[in-house]
């Protein structure tokens, strides 16, 4: 029985009188690849910020990796990895400097950072390039690097916010293979994307529209339910009122 790593019940987030998240309820299990979809402005970013400990809910129960989203946001941040759109590495620092920086921020010991860095660089075949400036690297490589850095401290959950935007089709698929591999190690991957075909790679997906979750199931089941040939068709049917 997989452990629940994300538990959300009746989550509400209001900004003044505007309800950005309207009674969201869902659960995500360890090792799952969970796709979080929705039109722009549907409330995805708001929800992700709450799940990653960056903001607090207005009401409802939210627990991430066993930590409460109201009172334990610092522990949440320590136990998750986060990769925001495109990349979050400093362009005027080298690969090595970025890894050491983030390792320090995650509270890892120098020894551990060194160990993990060696493994990371080996996996990406990047051992000789640890002193290259991030700004010199092509986009696809930056993407992969950012993802690896987000996993440096081996968190239980990693949040990916549109990680494959604008990247070439081969790199995109390589990235998803890395996601598969990560999930097979028991790490939960919570990902948002605008590429509908990527939604198909997920174990389960949810679709948000106007602050609410309007669909939550495996891609296969949703396609059957809405009589659609692809997730894109499901999306077009239900993501907009």
């Amino acid at each position: 029985m997989s452990e629940k790593v994300i538990y959300v019940k009746n989550l509400v987030k209001k900004f003044g009188s505007f309800v950005a998240n309207d009674n969201l309820s869902f659960e995500v299990y360890s090792g799952e690849i969970f796709g979080f979809l929705g039109a722009n402005g549907a409330g995805k970013t708001t929800a992700i910020r709450i799940l990653s400990g960056l903001s607090k809910p207005t009401s409802g129960e939210v627990s991430i990796a066993g930590f409460d989203a109201y009172r334990q946001t610092e522990q949440i941040k320590k136990n998750i990895g986060y990769m925001c759109q495109k990349f979050s590495l400093y362009e005027d620092l080298t690969v090595k400097e970025n890894i050491i920086l983030y390792g320090g921020i995650y509270g890892m010991s120098k020894l551990l950072i060194k160990e993990r860095m060696a493994g990371l660089l080996a996996k990406l075949h990047f051992q000789k390039d640890e002193n290259r400036m991030i700004s010199d690297l092509p986009l696809g490589l930056r993407q992969k690097l950012a993802f690896s850095v987000a996993l440096l401290h081996e968190p239980k959950i990693v949040f990916l916010d549109e990680p494959t935007g604008g990247v070439d089709p081969i790199t995109r698929r390589q990235f998803w293979e890395t996601i598969y591999e990560t999930s097979s190690r028991g790490i939960t991957v919570f990902v948002t994307t605008h590429y509908m075909d990527e939604a198909e790679y997920c174990d389960r997906i949810s679709i948000m529209s106007e602050g609410k979750i309007v669909a939550l199931d495996t891609p296969e089941n949703l396609k059957k339910q809405y009589n659609a040939a692809s997730v894109e068709d499901v999306f077009i049917k239900i993501a907009r009122p």
Binding site: Y90, D92, L93, I100
Partner: protein
């Protein structure tokens, strides 16, 4: 703690890799020290002094020689009558006039006392005070010299001091026009320097370029609104100066406003020129503020008279628009001069404006490289 240090290390790395910031961090203080050291001087050197001598005798000659051989003063002209004094000051080169009374020498010998007047240009109170003090002490020296050793009754030459234009020697007669000069150029240049650069940064410039709009239209179009708004600003500033500081406008208000608008136009086009060379708004703001503020405060004659500075600063100052505007504004407000005395400065400002516009149009990149 480790986290904190890791973060500090990152910040250091950012700074050292940003060469522009480093230059500002170390370059500007160094430049400041050098400029400050030389430009700022409260001594007098080469202050312009004119002489009105109706007596024309041996003693006045001797005293005059002594005054000018001190090295502090430079003889500007020899005046023939009292009415010429005002004109001399308005020309700007003379900072003080020494007036000997009739039959100075005779009176001194027969009565043992004579008087002379030191009339100083009060619109620069600091300089005026210094000139007066220096002159007075030279005159007293002279008194002692001609009295001879061991004489009981000193021959007395009593200098009568008069500050023209600013009898109470209010220092804000010096400061406020200077502050007006400084504020107008800073604000105007800042406003327009940001506006073009902002379009570049936000991306709207790309779309503007792929349109029938010509560079000159874009440039003048950006200057126009600020021109009208600045007029309101000028009125407000003059109003405040008058109400709060009691600063008069002795000369023609119409002329003053016209000159202010010229200066504003010049500043706005200078801002546009800055924006054509700045890639980011941050750069534009930097150049406008830092690049203009210091030279204006130190080198335009605002606080420290240009005559007191080494010659090289005089040359540098001659390309600074504020230098000319300060002369104009002080003349009109404090000395009440007409256009005749400030036509040269006005012309210079006009030419500068046209040059800035011309350079801006030329620099304006019609393509993205």
């Amino acid at each position: 703690m480790k986290r904190f240090l890791g973060f500090v290390k990152k910040e250091f790395l950012h700074i050292f890799r940003d060469y522009r910031t480093l230059f500002i961090l170390f370059g500007i203080p160094a430049a400041q020290i050098l400029i400050f050291g030389y430009a700022v001087s409260t001594d007098i050197k080469n202050a312009g002094v004119a002489v009105l001598d109706v007596s024309h005798d041996e003693i006045t000659q001797k005293l005059t020689d002594k005054i000018f051989s001190s090295g502090f003063f430079k003889r500007t002209e020899t005046l023939l009558n009292y009415n010429d004094i005002d004109k001399a000051f308005k020309k700007g080169k003379t900072k003080a006039v020494i007036v000997y009374e009739d039959d100075f020498g005779k009176k001194l010998i027969s009565e043992g006392k004579a008087s002379l007047s030191i009339i100083s240009d009060g619109s620069e109170p600091n300089t005026a005070t210094l000139i007066t003090n220096y002159t007075t002490s030279i005159v007293n020296d002279f008194s002692m010299e001609i009295s001879g050793p061991g004489v009981k009754n000193l021959v007395k030459i009593s200098p009568e001091v008069k500050m023209l234009y600013n009898p109470a020697l209010k220092s804000h007669f010096m400061f406020v026009p200077g502050v007006i000069t400084l504020i107008l150029i800073l604000i105007c240049a800042l406003m327009t320097s940001v506006t073009i650069t902002r379009e570049k940064e936000f991306g709207t410039m790309e779309v503007l370029l792929v349109s029938p709009l010509r560079p000159i239209q874009i440039i003048l179009g950006k200057v126009m609104p600020y021109f009208f708004l600045s007029f309101v600003n000028v009125l407000m500033i003059l109003m405040l100066s008058w109400l709060v500081f009691g600063l008069p406008v002795k000369g023609s208000i119409v002329l003053l406003l016209a000159e202010c608008m010229l200066y504003i136009l010049m500043s706005l086009t200078l801002g546009i020129l800055i924006s054509t060379v700045s890639k980011t708004m941050q750069q534009a703001i930097f150049i406008s503020l830092i690049g203009l503020m210091l030279p204006t405060v130190l080198l335009s004659g605002f606080i420290y008279p240009i005559e007191n500075m080494p010659k090289i600063y005089d040359y540098v100052s001659s390309v600074l628009p504020p230098r000319y505007f300060i002369v104009i504004i002080k003349n009109i407000m404090i000395k009440g001069t007409g256009f005749m005395y400030i036509w040269k400065e006005t012309l210079i400002l006009t030419v500068m404006t046209l040059v800035f516009i011309g350079l801006s149009v030329r620099n304006f990149k019609i393509r993205l490289e």
